[in-house]
Amino acid sequence: MTSMQRWGLALLVPYVLLFLVFVLYPVLYGFWLARSPAAYAKLFEDPVFFRTVVNTLVFVVVAVNVKFVIALYLSGFFVNTRPWIRWLSVLFILPWAVPSIPTIFSVRFMLNPEWGMVNSIIFRLTGADGPNWLTDPTLALSMSMLVHVWKSLPFWTLILIAGRLAIPKEQYEAASVDGATGWQQFRYVTWPSMRTLYLTSTILSMIWTLGDFNSVYLLTGGGPADLTHVLATLGIRYIRLDQLEQAMATIVVSMPLVLPLVWFMVRRLSRDGTQ
Amino acid sequence: MASVHFRDVRKSFGATEILHGVSLDIADGEFVVLVGPSGCGKSTLLRMLAGLEEVTRGEIAIDDRVVNEVDSKDRDIAMVFQSYALYPHMTVRENMGFSLRLRKAERAIVDERVGRAAQILNLQAYLERYPRELSGGQRQRVAMGRAIVRDPKVFLFDEPLSNLDAKLRVAMRAEIKALHQRLKTTTVYVTHDQVEAMTMADRIAVMNEGRIEQLGEPLALYDRPANLFVAEFIGSPAMNLLDARLRRSDGAAWVELAGARWALAAGAPGADGQQVKVGVRPEHLRLGAEGLAGEVVVVEPTGAGTELVVQCDGASLTVVVHGRSGARPGDRVLLAPGPDHVHLFDASSGARL
């Protein structure tokens, strides 16, 4: 017993060190940088800031939930065993596996209203000009969300596939015998088993999405007119403006967003521990 | 080989004490079965012996060495788990040789001992297979093989047969018994199945609620259960128990129950008028001309005999009759035991009189 404890502690040391050195110190330092009240005053004065907070909320809530509804649906699709679906799943995972810079840039080019492929197809099919994908603020933010969904959908679908595969077949067989329709099977068998996984994943994805810099930065750069910034890009924008304090203040301000999410995760985890 | 000693062993989880001072001495080469209902603490006791649980108080010794603070690996014991706990990523050969490999034994010795164990257990054909490719009984045998290869001082079995079907269980029971007779290794065997306990043990320790209720040879327990708990627990079908009053007059003794009287043997203990529990094993009840009146409600032929369930004044008694019985449900019968086969227990303490 004691040797187990000893080894256990020894094995925890690498991570604890990593945490202290590369998480705790930088985080405390970040808070220290954000200590000046003037930075907050300036932040709240900046007209871009409120728009950014709204965008971030929309981004996190809408993009993540849309992503998860699709992922939940697709996980049901991918558990079908067909050779072509196996091949499709390899293709499907690519957006997650390939790097952001070329892919998001490719989307940006694709959506160019004048010479991009999407609008030229629209023009060829209908003879009308396509929408200005990236210059209308609402549309541009939607496109950023779409890119985000495109990029991270495969990962989460993978997770939900695993969740579905873990449901014992007998439950479906029993439900079929009881005469459940497809929707009822989902409602009474699939969903109850997957609810917790779904919720945990959604929360984790929300936390990660808050830190998603690429989808907005590379696609719209926050434009038009700084109307599509999210907190992650706003922070970097302040750094670019040589306003480090304000950049750090955005962290602190974003905390009310993150705090409940992290709290939920930690609690979820504790419950796991006692099961 | 070794003897095992528990000396006033206690175990608490937090504030709850679940073993209240267990003492038990197991002789070298003995096969002791710990039996009891689930939650009685028998597995915990075994796991403490294995070094998987800490001892809260008291002492556990193997031979003369107190092992409270000794790591499992240094206790020289082998254990067979209910789930077998075979390493799924190792073949049967590797599973059986694992402990020797950890001891850095020479290859030849490992092969030799694994081979011998495989032969004993009839596993030669399966040595290169993985656990998932084996049937339940085969896995069970591999788990035993893993223990045999160790040639340990003590074998521990933690409900090793409960995952097998009934027929296989009987067969494995015999095999384990035979194995013990062959190897003569001190064995502690935990089960909740009293039939297993009866058939395999040299001595049985019946446990309940963190205590040993009775320790003894199987038939001694069967014949003279020390208290109501043991009486009910050992034997199948279970002993019939009835409330009664003990009467004594002119050197004769009997019990009165529901208007009937059952004679007791001459030396029966207890005072006149004492409130008692009367216990009679089903095979000792006779259908006769006198005794307790009741109505047959169920007749279950088992082939070798017949089991009757008789409803007597609110109590339900089980009667085992040798051979076939002509009784039909609805028949009214009178029941009485032979005087030598009546067990008397104190009504309040449950202890044998």
């Binding site: 840039f105 480090l244 | 390493y87």
Partner: protein, 280 residues
């Protein structure tokens, strides 16, 4: 019966085809740029008039001065990603094993602390991380990026591995201990082999995270011969006139190793990544 089957198949195709288009189209678009010549890349056509492989040749031969260090940078990316994968696995596996199998006191606390990392979205931690690396004298060494990425990948890794560990039967550990295994032997001979699918999946996860990282990479690395390919691709974004067709060709090549890694390990991914997360 066969009608019903055909109907099911048709319904699956109805989902499968849009999924295929959705996943492949932006990547196809990259490919299109990569095989287009300079002037036809922006034509908006679905297939270039004169497809060419010259862009790939230019990348391989490091012909454009944005790409003078292409192979070096590819190697840097590989080295860094592989090291991140390895270190994340090492650290997270040790921690998960200690928390889940050795039930070390304080394990829960460490788990919660790990999750605390996500308290601050990664993009915000960048500058403080830079400061930290500067204090530790790690700046401009690839170790700074490696350690930063290990830090970001570890919480999720520990979390998934811990839950996957929890699912292994406890008796296996007990059996091994009785068989005479020390905790380290238990770790090496029983735990690691059984955790293999999860380890592969988490390793891949960490590797991909590091492979694709841009923000931390440009902040923490400096010299052109030290940076990863992602940072080098960033150069293309800076010029008034970039050879976009070369960017896309490079990007496509950059995407190949992770795609290959995923392909090789795909049978582990579904089960492994989530073995733990599934617990209802």
């Amino acid at each position: 019966m066969s009608w019903k089957k055909a109907g099911t198949e048709a319904r699956l195709l109805l989902v499968g085809i849009p999924v295929a288009l959705w996943s492949a189209f932006p990547i196809y678009h990259i490919f299109l740029f990569a095989i287009s010549s300079k002037d036809s890349a922006f034509s908006g056509a679905l297939w270039p008039a004169q497809p060419t492989l010259r862009n790939f040749g230019a990348v391989f031969k490091q012909e454009h001065f944005f790409l003078y260090h292409f192979w070096q940078q590819m190697w840097n990316s590989l080295w860094i990603a592989a090291t991140v994968g390895f270190l994340t696995l090492l650290i997270a596996t040790c921690a998960a094993f200690a928390i889940s199998r050795l039930r070390v006191r304080g394990g829960r606390l460490v788990m919660n602390a790990a999750l605390f990392t996500y308290f601050i979205p990664a993009a915000f931690l960048a500058v403080p991380m830079y400061k930290a690396m500067s204090v530790y004298g790690l700046l401009n060494s690839s170790w700074s990026l490696v350690l930063a990425m290990v830090t970001l990948a570890s919480p999720y890794a520990i979390w998934v591995l811990k839950q996957a560990s929890d699912k292994l039967p406890w008796e296996l550990d007990e059996a091994a201990r009785i068989d005479g295994a020390t905790p380290m032997q238990l770790f090496r001979l029983v735990y690691l082999p059984l955790m293999l699918p999860s380890l592969v999946a988490i390793g891949t996860y960490a590797l991909l995270l590091a492979w694709n990282e841009y923000l931390y990479a440009f902040l923490l690395l400096s010299k052109e011969t030290n940076v990863t390919l992602a940072v080098a691709l960033g150069h293309f974004l800076s010029a008034d006139d970039s050879p976009w067709e070369l960017l896309m060709a490079t990007g496509l090549l950059y995407g190949l190793p992770p795609a290959a890694i995923y392909y090789v390990f795909r049978r582990y991914m579904v089960g492994g990544l989530t073995a733990g997360a599934v617990k209802a």
